[in-house]
Every structure is written in structure tokens, then in C-alpha cells.
């Protein structure tokens, strides 16, 4: 099937994934990644995106992420949803992929793919930060860890403390309470990771995800999460080196004729 714009592989495409935590960009030339960048969204993701638009030459722009419609109005970008972008991006990186997990700064999505790479089913966490990168940041702070330490400490702990709440607000006070009670911080960190993993695996099951599973998004760089998801998932787990730009890459590919599996 031809791409959104029916364009050939030689066209230069800028793919933008405009999220509330980061803006990711991929520049394609001749169907290949020629450049990529990730920047903090700050308080004005649109101007961060505008800087990327200025930065390199391109013939078309495709935007995804929650800011995609703003990009359509401001830069005349075509738009695709995150679901489609991640499906295309993950399938392009790993043609054998049958499912995708993305844990980003503010949301989580799980996608099951058909054999041809098309979306079979998906689920997004809807309204809150529960179990996302933001959640981990808040918890790291409550524990007095950096994000990196949070993952490392969790890996080092032998077992996790049971955390009952997934709501960021409640979990934060739960964690503070546990620290006051003298619980080992590493075990709390492990417990937090375990509860996110449980929730994530449940969502994967609901959409009927099978392996290989591509784990994308910022949280895929957290080794503790990767380990737990790998342990709980009945199938192969693949973590792309470019985990943060899968969405932007998929968005860019959607513009190419035959570029994406869609």
C-alpha cells in the first residue's frame, strides 16, 4: 500500500513524536535514518518541535503524539496516531515483531500486531500517570534516588515489597510510609517495578500480545523494568537501541510508499 502522501523512497521526511515529556525527531533520506534527536518538551512542546522543523531539510513532515494536531495546524504536517507510528516503527526495526510495548513519560500503550505488521488490537492507559515514566520519577524522588539508581537498586534487591497502590499520589505516600517504617529502599524500588510490570503484563494479555515483543519508549532503558517484563512475558523480548525514537521513526516511515508495513 502506498504511504499517506503516496511519496517515493527518495523523499526527505521529518518524523516528529510530540509528547508531553519529550519531543523526538527522525530525519529520513532515501528511506534511511540520516539524523535523530530527542529533546525535553519543556513547557512549550510546540516550539521545541518548531526548532526541529527549522533544523534540517525535509520535503514532508509527519507528526504523531499528543501534539500532532498542533503540528498539522502549524507546520502543515500529516498526522498519524502513536499506535500506528509505533506499530510501523517497531515492525521496521524488527520485521518479526508481533507486539509492541511503549512506556513513555506520561502514558503506556500495548499493541498486538498481525503477521503483516498491521495493528490487531491495542490498549492505552487513559487518564493518569500510573505506571509510566512520570510515576517512576516521582517514586525515585520519594526514595531519594536518581532514576538510574532506582533501576540499579531494584536490580540489586533480592525481593520486592508489595506496593498496593498504582495511583501516583497514593503510591507516593505509601512509599514514604514504607521508608519511615525502615523498609529497605532497594526492596521498595523493586516492589514498584514489580507492580508496574504486573500491570503491563496484564495489558499485554488483554490485547492477546504474542512474541517477539518490542519494548520501546524511555522506560525501556531501565534495566529493572526490562528484566521483569522479560521474565513475565511468554515470548521473546526485543529492546531497540533507539527505543526513544520508535514513534518518530514510524511516523516518518508512514509517509513513504511501501516504507511502512501498513
Amino acid at each position: 500500500m502506498s504511504g499517506e502522501n503516496g511519496t517515493g523512497p527518495d523523499v526527505r521526511v521529518l518524523g516528529l513524536d510530540i509528547g508531553s515529556r519529550s519531543v523526538d525527531a527522525v530525519w529520513l533520506g532515501g528511506g534511511k535514518i540520516v539524523d535523530a534527536a530527542v529533546a525535553d518538551s519543556g513547557f512549550d512542546p510546540a516550539s521545541v518541535a518548531a526548532a526541529f522543523v527549522e533544523r534540517g531539510a525535509h520535503d514532508v513532515i509527519v507528526a504523531t503524539g499528543y501534539g500532532r494536531h498542533v503540528a498539522r495546524e502549524t507546520f502543515g504536517a500529516s498526522v498519524v496516531t502513536e499506535i500506528k507510528a509505533y506499530a510501523i516503527g517497531a515492525s521496521a526495526l524488527f520485521p518479526q515483531a508481533r507486539s509492541v510495548l511503549d512506556i513513555g513519560g506520561q502514558d503506556t500503550k500495548v499493541i498486538s500486531l498481525r503477521e503483516d505488521g498491521r495493528v490487531a488490537d491495542f490498549e492505552m492507559n487513559d487518564k493518569c500517570a500510573a505506571g509510566t515514566g512520570k510515576f517512576l520519577e516521582v517514586m525515585a524522588k520519594a526514595l531519594g534516588f536518581t532514576l538510574e539508581e532506582l533501576g540499579a537498586e531494584s536490580m540489586a534487591a533480592e525481593s520486592g515489597v508489595q506496593i498496593s497502590s498504582m495511583c501516583t499520589v497514593f503510591a507516593e505516600s505509601e512509599v514514604t510510609g514504607l521508608v519511615h517504617r525502615g523498609e529497605d529502599r532497594g526492596r521498595i524500588a523493586r516492589g514498584l517495578h514489580e507492580s508496574i510490570a504486573r500491570r503491563t503484563l496484564g495489558a499485554l494479555k488483554r490485547v492477546g500480545a504474542s512474541g517477539p515483543l518490542v519494548f520501546a519508549g524511555g522506560v525501556a532503558r531501565n534495566p529493572a523494568m526490562v528484566e521483569l517484563v522479560r521474565a513475565g512475558f511468554a515470548g521473546e523480548l526485543l529492546v531497540p537501541a533507539e527505543s526513544q525514537i520508535v514513534g518518530a521513526y514510524g511516523a516518518a516511515l508512514s509517509a513513504l510508499a511501501g516504507g511502512g508495513p501498513q
Binding site: 499528543y66 498519524v80 496516531t81 499506535i83 490487531a120 488490537d121 492505552m124 487513559d126
Partner: protein, 427 residues
Amino acid sequence: MSDTPVDYHQMWADLGLDLPMHDALLEAVGGMYGATFMSQANRPEGMGYLDFVMSEVHGLRIKELDDFRKSGGKVVGTYCLYVPEELIRAAGGWSVGICAGAEWAYDQVEQILPRNTCALIKSMMGFKLGKVCPYLEEADLLVGETTCDGKKKAYEELGKMQNLYTMELPQMKRPKDVAFWRSELVDFIAKLEELTGKKVTAEALKASIKEVNDKRRALQRVNAARAADPSPISGLDALLAVQVAFYDDVPRFTQMMNALADELEKRAAAGIGVAPKGAPRILITGTPMALPNWKLHEIVEKAGGVVVGEEMCTGSRYYEKLVDEDASTLDEMLDDLAEKYLDINCACFTPNTGRIDDIIRMAGDLKVDGVIDYALSFCGTYQIESAGVAKTVQDAGVPVLRIETDYSAEDVGQLSTRVEAFLEMVK
């Protein structure tokens, strides 16, 4: 339709409405209507009638009710389509469905009802407590029904503020339940006769059965036209037609809907549609969407889909089934009414497998690309049915998106993303 707008403030004041708040509500709904409906491309001309009705929703129609009551007529307000309009009309009354589709005066509502009550019930109380609904204030009698627990108990509270009568609806559909429901209809007739001072005669009931059937037939025609690809009418406009059916003048509405259906049939034959041919066709199933709840339809259609059917009380459940018209005695008519009404497939009943059959059948007839299962938060009955509905529909080869939401605009962004992704997936 005159050019100078009539000022209805005196009428509203006489009804005891909170005028500043009521002005605010009208302005908000008017703004929503303009943004949602008037911006649609390629609408059928027949929608002009509904635009007019909506522009006069608290004006001319209330004036009509007012005049009717001043001449001795009685207005009966209802909240569920199980309350038979035929009986109300046969007793010389007018039936109006009271809307409960907007978030209003929740601060006051939550002093009475728990926060985890569905939006429909909260809204029903909010319009009363906030004194902004002229239909409620025109109602000489409100009729509740023992459907879900939330409504059943909320009616007790509403009954403290207004004359309210509750019908007991069975929860199953065995022959003895039909017999019981029939006995409830008999009691309701007595209540209505006491209210209006008029006897329900076989002649009057026969006429009202015909009249209300005619209204349903007109809506059936409007909705049948949506099977065409491209659909000649948007989901928003078709939803609006059913929402208005609950309170508009019956013969006039029927006539206007038949005219709309004539136009739609012509458009369908000529291949004229509201969205390009091949746009993803969506069936929505679930909890009713009371006026002015247009949220999900708007999201779907703004994302490039077209809603071609609603398996809901503001949809097929309202117009699909007719009452038999051959009866000549009151007894036979009551049998027919009891039977037809208990044939509606609402999640308050157990079992409710007929609803799933309806969804599968509509999905086929309307050639849909996907089904969206819609439930209001805290609506136990529909939420529990949701997983089973999704599974059966998916097994039949039709993709399903399950949505739980309320009347607020907070989640519109996220819902839009999910709906867009769903449309991409089914395309």
C-alpha cells in the same frame, strides 16, 4: 419562524428557574450545538427542522407545553424508554423524556448522591437541584422505574422534590414477568387517569399506539438510510433525531422525520453522503446518550469516521420494535404493550443475550468496520456486559473499541487518540 427572537424570560421565571444559571446553560448548549452541528459538511436539508427545534428547545416547545397545561392538559416526564408513551397519550397527557446529558450542579448533587454515581443520574439530579430544566418544572408527574440500582434509589431523592411515581420493572423476561409488567401497566393507567381525569379507552389507546408506532416507523426509515455507503446523514444528526423524539410534538415530528427520510433515500440513491465513500463505518453500543451528550459521536466523526448506527436507548432500542396494531380491546392492547416493552434489550435485565444478537445483526446490516462499546463510568450493568459484548463481536470478525467515560471534556484528547488509532486499525 420569526426573525425577532421572542423573550421567554418571564415564562422561565414563572416556572421558578434560576435565570442567570439558566442563561448560562442555554449559552453553553447553544455554543456546543453551533460548534458540533453547524460545522458539519454536506448536511441534509431536512436537518433544518431539528436545528430549529434545538434553537427553541427551552423556548417555543416549552411555550407549547405551557399552553397545553393552561388548557387543562397534563405533562408527564420520563427517564427511561420502558415508560410507555402510548399510555400517557391515551390518557390525554403528553410525554416528555427529561434530558440528563450534561454535567450540571454536581457540587449540589454530590451532597446527596455518592460521587461514584453515573453521569446520567448525577445530571438528572443536577438539573433539578440547579433549577435549570423547564421540562422538569412543566412536568405534572415524573415517572421513575426500577431499572438499575442507582436510578431506583436516586428516584427516592428526586421524589422528595417533585411529584414522582415509580413503576416496578421486572429483572427477567419469563412469562410471569411479562404478566407482572402488564399489571404494572394497569396500575400506571389508574395513576394517569387520576392525574388527567380522563379514562383510557380502547379507542384512545389504539390511536396512540398507531401514532407512536408511526413515529418509530419514521425513525426506522431515517436510520435504514444509513446502511448506504456513503451514509447520507451523519451519526451526530441521526443521534439528534432520536434525542429530539423523546420530547417533540409527536405528529409534527413524525411528519418532519418522514420528510427527512424521503430526502435521505434520494441522497442514498444518488450516492450523496456526508463523508467520503469508504470512510470507516462505526456502530456504537452501550449506555444511552441523553441530550446534549454528543461527545463520542463528535470525536468519531471529527476523526474521519462515520457513525452509522446506535444500539442504545437513544438509538435502535427506541425505534426498532413496534406494538402490534391489530388489537381491538383494551385487554389485548395491554398484552401487546407488555410484550413489546419487555422485548427491549436493556442491561438491567438478566440474561440479556438479545442485546448481543442485536449488535451482531446491526453490524452486518449496516456493514460496519468497527464497533465502539460505550459505557458511562460507574454504570455497573453496561460495564459488566462490555467484556462479553466485545468478545462476541470480535469473534464475529468485527473489531471492537471499549470506552468508558463521562460527560466531562477532560478526557477528549485521550479518547480522540484512541478513536483515531481504532479508525486507522479498521480502515
